[in-house]
Every structure is written in structure tokens, then in C-alpha cells.
């Protein structure tokens, strides 16, 4: 790839701080909602949704994935994709025996 720009983007301190606050807020949220029985699978669905949101915040801003070359997003996206394949196909065995 010979088309890289020679400039690099700096994530502003203010954005880092906002992400930090959001992460703390989401942590508080997940702890509070864990104590409430939402019935069925909804507790785990909510907990995982919150965790995923936190992870996305860290990936996109703390890890500046939002501002990086697309290939880096493809790399981590592929890793997550194949992990889901691993879980999904293993589940077709374990839960359908």
C-alpha cells in the first residue's frame, strides 16, 4: 500500500475524557441492572450489550480504530467474526445432541 498519508490524527483529550465517563457510567449501569431480575435471557442480553458498547467505545476512540486505516478494522473484525463461527458451529453440536 503506497498511498498512506504522512499525517497522523491525534485523539483530543476531551474525547478521551468523555469516553472515560461513558465507560464508568456503563459499568454502574451493568452493576445495577444485574441485581434486577429481568426474566428469561434478558439479563445476559443486557449485560452483554453493555459490555459490547464499552468495548466498541474503547476500540473506536481509546484505540483510535475510527481514525486508522480500514485494514486494521478488517483485521479485528475478522477475528471477532471467526470467533462467532467457532462458538456458533460448536453450539450446533453441544446443544443439539
Amino acid at each position: 500500500m503506497s498511498s498512506e498519508h504522512s499525517h497522523f490524527h491525534v485523539v483530543p483529550a476531551a474525547i478521551n475524557f468523555k469516553v472515560f465517563l461513558a465507560l464508568i457510567g456503563l459499568t454502574i449501569l451493568t452493576v445495577i441492572t444485574a441485581r434486577i431480575n429481568l426474566g428469561g435471557p434478558w439479563n445476559i442480553v443486557l449485560a452483554l450489550s453493555i459490555a459490547c458498547t464499552k468495548a466498541i467505545l474503547v476500540f473506536l476512540w481509546f484505540m483510535h480504530l475510527k481514525y486508522s486505516h480500514a485494514i486494521n478494522r478488517v483485521v479485528i473484525g475478522s477475528a471477532l467474526f471467526f470467533l462467532i463461527v467457532f462458538l456458533g458451529l460448536t453450539a450446533t453440536d453441544v446443544f443439539f445432541r
Binding site: 499525517h7 497522523f8 478521551n16 452493576v31 444485574a34 474503547v58 486505516h69 477475528a79 467457532f86
Partner: protein, 215 residues
């Protein structure tokens, strides 16, 4: 949003044409490494998912034996450490290396605190007879709870090893800061260690609810 111009200053390694090319190669390399971490820990999460679905009540009961408040505290500590690390990268890029140095020091302190809490937790588990295998002698534990605790120790143990390595890497960074080796034109080791540290944080972001917050 500010930008940094690479071309003023540093010379690239002999096999690269430009500093920018070398920087982007480095970042891609780090993301590829992080992908391997995601898949390695991911395997453990797959095992967890399988067994949690197999023994939902066992996992619920076993999770009660963990201290949720310590887990939550550790989560906050690690998020704070991530924030410090992100800011450290920011200030290095801005050329404020003194500020960055302090932030990395803070990150290390948070990491050490995290490990301290984990040590305290492990000690407690040991006394309760919840360590896997032959040491699984807890009075109220069923044999399947051994699966939960086996996973708990492997997952948090492997994570703790990664924290230790992270501390080592950050100590190395501090040394290099002292030697004035980083600037707005060369900061990739700081960036790289930062990316590693954030992945360690992300892993814990999932470990916490899955291990500590069941039911």
C-alpha cells in the same frame, strides 16, 4: 482535530521508504497481534458460553461465591488505567512527554492495584477450598461448580499474566521516556503498548459481567 507531520525529523529503517509507511506497518502489525489475543481469550469465552448454557444454575450458584464489589472496583480501576494510557499517548503525540510519563506511571499503579485485589481474591478462594482439581474441597460445592471455578481461574489467571506483561512493557516505556526517545515524530512504542493495554481492558470488560454478575 490536530495532525502530526511525520516527514520532519525521523529517518525510516533501511527497508522502508518513508516514516509514514513504517508507522502504518507497525500499527497493522500490532492489530494482527491483538487479533491473536482476541482469538486466544475468545476460545476461553467459547468454553464459558458452552458450559454456562449446560449448567445455568451451577454457574449462578458458583458466581455468588465471588465478591461482586471487588470485581466492580477492579473494573473501574482498569477503565481508569485505560484512560490514563490513552491520555499518555495523546500527550506524547503533543510532545508533552513529562505529562505522558506521569500518566504511564499512574497506569502502572492502577495495574498494580488491580493485581493486588486479584491476589486478595485468590487467597480467599484458596482458603475456601475453591481452587480446581484436588484442592476443590469447598463444603457446599457440587462437582460441576468445579467447571465454573476452573474457567474462572484460567480466564482471570491468564488475564492477570497479561496485566503483568503490560506492567513490564510500561516500565520499559518509562525507561525510554527518561532517555528522551519519544516525540511527536516517533511514538509508536507508546501507541503500541497502549493498544495492547486497551485489549487487556476490553477482555476484563467481558470477564466482569460474565463471571461476577450472573443472576
Amino acid at each position: 482535530m490536530s495532525t502530526i507531520n511525520f516527514e520532519k525529523g525521523v529517518i525510516p529503517s533501511h527497508h522502508f521508504s518513508t516514516v509514514s509507511q513504517e508507522y502504518h506497518a507497525g500499527i497493522l502489525g500490532i492489530w494482527l497481534f491483538l487479533a491473536t489475543e482476541v482469538l486466544m481469550f475468545g476460545g476461553l469465552f467459547v468454553a464459558y458460553a458452552i458450559f454456562r448454557n449446560m449448567y445455568p444454575s451451577v454457574f449462578h450458584d458458583a458466581s455468588q461465591l465471588l465478591d461482586m464489589q471487588l470485581g466492580a472496583m477492579n473494573t473501574v480501576i482498569l477503565i481508569a488505567s485505560s484512560y490514563c494510557m490513552a491520555q499518555a499517548v495523546h500527550y506524547t503525540q503533543k510532545g508533552e512527554t513529562h505529562h505522558a510519563f506521569t500518566l504511564i506511571l499512574l497506569t502502572i499503579l492502577c495495574a498494580l492495584f488491580f493485581l493486588g485485589v486479584k491476589y486478595f481474591e485468590y487467597q480467599h478462594k484458596f482458603h475456601e477450598g475453591l481452587l480446581p482439581g484436588m484442592n476443590f474441597t469447598h463444603a457446599n460445592a457440587t462437582r460441576e461448580m468445579g467447571i465454573f471455578f476452573g474457567l474462572y481461574f484460567v480466564m482471570t489467571g491468564l488475564h492477570a499474566i497479561h496485566i503483568l506483561v503490560g506492567i513490564g512493557l510500561m516500565a520499559w516505556l518509562l525507561l525510554r521516556f527518561k532517555r528522551n526517545e519519544f516525540s511527536p515524530h516517533y511514538f509508536i512504542p507508546v501507541d503500541g503498548v497502549g493498544l495492547y493495554w486497551h485489549i487487556v481492558d476490553i477482555i476484563w470488560i467481558f470477564l466482569f459481567p460474565l463471571l461476577y454478575l450472573i443472576g
